[in-house]
Every structure is written in C-alpha cells, then in structure tokens.
C-alpha cells in the first residue's frame, strides 16, 4: 500500500492524448456519441457529456495498466481495451437520453457536438497538472466558441467542476450550468434508497440540496445517517485516486461501500465515477439518479 505511480510520465501521456484526440486516452469517438440520434449538431445551448458516462466503465482497465504505462510504445493498442461492453454502453446511453428527456420536459432543447465534443480536462486538474490544465482549457474554450456554443449543460460533477474552474485559468463568457439545476423529476418512484453524494456536487459546487430535493420529490425515501451520509462525513468513493494509486483508491471504495451497506442495499449515485468505483465493492444494487427519477 502507498506506492504512487510515475505521475510525471502519466501527465505527459495524458497531455499528448488530449492534444491529439481531445481525450485523455485513445477512444473511438463513436463510443462517446453513439447515444445521440436526434439532437441538433451544435447550437447556442449544448449538452456536454465529456464522454464521462460512456467511457468510465472501461477506465478501470486503463488504470490497471498505468503503473507500467511508460513501457508501452504507444497507446493505440490500448484503445481496443478501453472500450465498454454493450450492456455498459446501453446503460450509459439510457442515462444520457433520460437527462435529455428531462431537459426537454423543462422546455430546453439542447444541441450536441457529437464526435467533435472534447473531454473537459478534469483529470489534469484533479491530478494537479494545473499548467497543463490551463493550456488545455484554452483549447476547449476556443473549440466551444468556434462551434457557436454559449450555454454548456454538464451532466456529471467532474466535468461541471472542471468547466466552472476554467474561469480561473482562461477568461471566457460561456455559461456553465448543470442539468440538475434545470430539470424536475419526471417519474414517481416508491421505495427506499441510501445515497452516496458526489464530493464535488456536495461540497464544492452547491448542488447537494438540488439533487436531494429532486429525489425526495420523486417519492423516494432516503435512508440517512449523519455519520455516513452527512455533508461533512460522507466519504469520497476513492475513484479520483485511481491514476495515482489504484490500491488505495480501492481501499477507500471498500470502506465507503461497507458504510453504505449498513443503511440500505439500494444505493443512488450522481456521478459515473462513483458508480464504477463502488460497483465491485457494494453488496446490493447501485443506480444513477438519472436511471431512476427520469
């Protein structure tokens, strides 16, 4: 335990991939865009996935390879491995389509950049590559402007956090809003769940009450405990530590899953990274709120 990966080397590879593909590792862009069929291409207001829900189920394989990454000559062969299964993709696509349906019910018809959609750069920010994040943020802002986007609707906490922080690094006039700020629940749901909060939504981005409100209005009863699901106490899933030290990341996930299991065998999450990180450790059912209340 406690063996940090070669972060400088990983950083170089991430930056190289971002410059080449607008993604932190090579990915077939059709995997990212395959969920959207009828959305207009581009426009003033766009839904922005950053390919998080789509690719996250396959990131575990990439993380396992990271410690020996410097021995790979190129990453293209990895692209074949970093591909979610059909069932994983079906789930991700359903979540994204549910979010679009909820937005449309609220009177918002977003466009989408399809295979031209860039990744946000969140991994650089979260690993501490601030200078690299600044340079990449400039590129993404330029790309958004070039495509005519003015209002960006994010769908996951890591992307939302990265974009809201662009302003610290590059001046822009893009409006960044999260879908949770724009939608209402669309389905009445009965039953009990417990909840694993997104650290970023809950403690950095001010959206904790927003999604809890939607969940409770939908009819779901949340099983809570101040020592497990309180704002100050609800732990990280461990996912963001994966690129640094996968063993410690998994230990955190194990701790978190054990705590949550004490409250309910049905767990709601609001972040694709939390879902993937907790899934192997949580003995019960995990669902994203966008699978349940929309």
């Amino acid at each position: 335990m406690y063996h940090v990966n070669n972060l400088s080397e990983i950083g170089k590879i991430l930056v190289d991939n971002l410059n080449r593909y607008y993604m932190p590792f090579p990915v077939d862009k059709k995997v990212c865009s395959g969920w959207a069929k009828d959305l207009p291409r581009g426009g003033d207001t766009i839904i922005y996935t950053s390919c998080m829900y789509q690719i996250e189920p396959a990131v575990g394989m990439f993380l396992k390879l990271l410690p020996s990454i410097s021995s790979f000559k190129g990453l293209m062969p990895l692209a074949r491995l970093v591909k979610p299964s059909k069932s994983q993709l079906d789930r991700a696509y359903k979540i994204l389509n549910n979010i679009v349906k909820a937005l449309e019910k609220s009177g918002i018809k977003p466009g989408y950049l399809y295979e031209e959609e860039p990744y946000s750069g969140a991994i650089l920010l979260e690993m501490g590559f601030l200078e690299e994040f600044r340079e990449y943020a400039k590129k993404v802002v330029s790309l958004f402007k070039e495509k005519g986007a003015k209002k960006i609707i994010t769908v996951d906490p890591h992307t939302h956090n990265a974009l809201t922080r662009y302003q610290e690094f590059v001046k822009h006039d893009l409006e960044i809003v999260n879908y949770l700020e724009l939608v209402n629940y669309t389905k009445k749901v009965e039953g009990e769940f417990t909840i694993h909060d997104s650290c970023l939504y809950s403690r950095f981005l001010g959206l904790r009450e927003k999604y809890r409100g939607l969940i409770e209005k939908s009819g779901i009863k949340l099983v809570e405990d101040e020592m497990i699901t309180g704002k100050d106490t609800s732990s990280c899933c461990g996912g963001p530590l994966g690129p640094v030290d996968l063993k410690v990341s998994e230990k955190i996930a194990e701790n978190r899953a054990k705590d949550l299991e004490k409250l309910s065998k049905r767990l709601l999450v609001v972040c694709p990274i939390c879902y993937v990180t907790l899934l192997p450790h949580f003995k019960g059912e995990i669902m994203d709120i966008a699978e349940v209340i929309f």
Partner: protein
Amino acid sequence: MLSWDIAVNRAINNAVPKVYKVLSEHPYVEELAKRLREAKLEVLNNLEKYVEETLQSVKNNGGNAYYVHDEKEAQEIVGKIVGKGKIVVMGKSMVAYELGIRKYLESLGNEVWETDLGEFLIQQANEPPSHIIAPAIHMTKESVGKLLKEKLGGVDENSKVEDMVAVVRKFLRDKFVKADVGITGANAIAADTGSVLLVENEGNIRFTTVAPQIHIAIAGVEKILPTLADAMIEPLVQSAYAGLYPPTYVNLTSGPSSTADIEHNRVRPAHGPKEFHLILVDNGRVKANKDSVLREALLCIRCGRCHFHCPIYRAIGNIWGDPPYSGPMGAMWSYIVKGDAKPAMYCVHSGNCKEVCPMRINIPRVLEHIKNLGLHSQTKM
C-alpha cells in the same frame, strides 16, 4: 479487519459526534474561530514585525528568545541550554518532533521522556505518531496493554484503560520530580506580551512547565498572535474542534516564575522555573508565507479534526505524510517543512476537510497547488 481500521473507526466514532455536540452547545466558539483566523492573518501579513515584537516582549519579561531558521540551529540552541547528562521532560510538541529535538538531546547523553500519554506510547514503541493530537491513535487498547506490559509491567493486553493510565502516571511522576528541563511547544504566542499559551487535559504540561528549573518552549512563527487577548482564543477553539471541551487546563507562561509579594516588586524566580526560553522556528514557514496559496496552511491550529473526516487518512493514515504531520493538514505541512509533495498527491479532493476546518482553510486547494509544484519541480516525490 486490520488493527488500523479498528483503531481509526473507534476514534472517528468517538471524536466526530463529540465535536458536533461541543459546537452545538457552545455556539460562540465558531465566532471565536472567525476572529482567530483574522488575527492570524494579521500576523502573516506582517510576519517580520510580529516576530521582532515577540522576541522583544519575551526579553522584557526576563526570558530568552531566539529565532532559528532550521533544524540544525534549533538543535544547537536547545543543546546549549540543556547540556549533557540531564533529565528532560517533554510536553507533546509537533515542532520539537519536526526538529528532531528528543533524539538530538538523547544523542548528547540526556535522559528524555515524552509525558503526553500518546507521545509516551509512541516513544516506547519507537513508532511515528499517527495523529496531530492523538499520536497513538493507531494503537488499539489491546496493543497499548501489550506494549506497557513489555516496557513497564503491571498491566497487559486485557487490562482496563484506567489501569494502563495509572501505570504510566506512576512512572512519569518520578521523572517530573527529578527533571532538570521541561520542553513544550506552544498553541499560541502573544506578540504584545511574549506569553505562551498551552492547552492540555492530562496535566503533564503543567508539570513540564513548572516543576523543572528551566522551561523551553519551541514553536513555529505561525503561532504568533498580535495580542494576549487574541492568543487566549486559540486554546478554546483548538480544544473545541478537537472535541475536548472544555479543556482541563490552559497554561499561560510569561517568562520565568515571579513573585511580587514583597512591596509589590516583581522578582524572578519564585517557585517555578528560573529560566524561560522561547525558540521561534522558521524551517520553511517564512517561504510558505510568501506564497499566497501555501500561506493558508499556516493558519492551521492543529486540532486534528480534518483527519477524522478524510477518506485517505482513514484508508492509510498512520503512514500518510512525514511524521509528525499526517492527515490532510499533514499533507500540507509535509511540503512546508520537508519539501515533500508526495502526500499531497493522495488528496482525492473529497472536500470534507475544508467543510470542518475551524480556520476555513480550503485544504484541497492548497494540496492541489502543492501537487502542481511537486509535479513541475525536483522536490521530493
């Protein structure tokens, strides 16, 4: 379940609800914390001036005051004051640990005893501390019993905690009585009066600061506050956010002991120490103060609350950070005093630490900054 998991879960479940209860029963503490942050910022904005004022104030009280840049200078001064073949008792001091004072004094041929129970256990086990105010938190009561059985006798792994405490109390009382020098840290130092504030529950600091003929206080420059009124706030805030409120003892020392009982003339010494020495330490703090992001770390009052809300500490705590600096605050301090950016790399930006920090330090932002510095320089990784 691993022994660390057992020990830290017990500590979290004991400590966290206690802090909530203390803050709810004494809401003024949060107001005091805000005032303390402002007072500490005032000093950091004018650090040189306040260091000078503090040194002069200590001298005005009949004490000796020193400013040291690094570990070597600190050890030399302490070594000169203590000498050789002495009995030294220490009240738990993170800065003394940071500067290797105990080991240095032992190398000179002195008998040195940690007197805080947790730190005493650490000394006996020859292990690094695992928490800023509860250094032996990684030990279960069973492992403490086993250790004391080996070192002092009289108890074993099945003994009650009360009996374990009694065995150490009996052993250390003898050391307090015979000690030549007492060494402590400082929770706060008042620039205007040169007074040192120390908060504790065990009574070991009282003994350490009063029984021996020489008292040495060693503290980082970030412990200075503008006035005695400001400095008095710190022990209250620190103990409340550590969940130990009210503190059993708050000690105030302004120079060597004195009496004014004859014609109201203040004469030194009286019954307590005849010498008082304050050693103010830089060791990376002044440089950190010049960095607008790192400066925030200097506001830390070492209550240790962030540890109990941090998923990383819970997962790997007792080996995360450079001793004595563990936990989220330790990841900041490992960089400030050791130039070690590796602990910061482990921050998952869960944000719990910033939510509970009484000084409102955005610890994840400081650690993000350290990550960036570490990744772009040749600092220790």
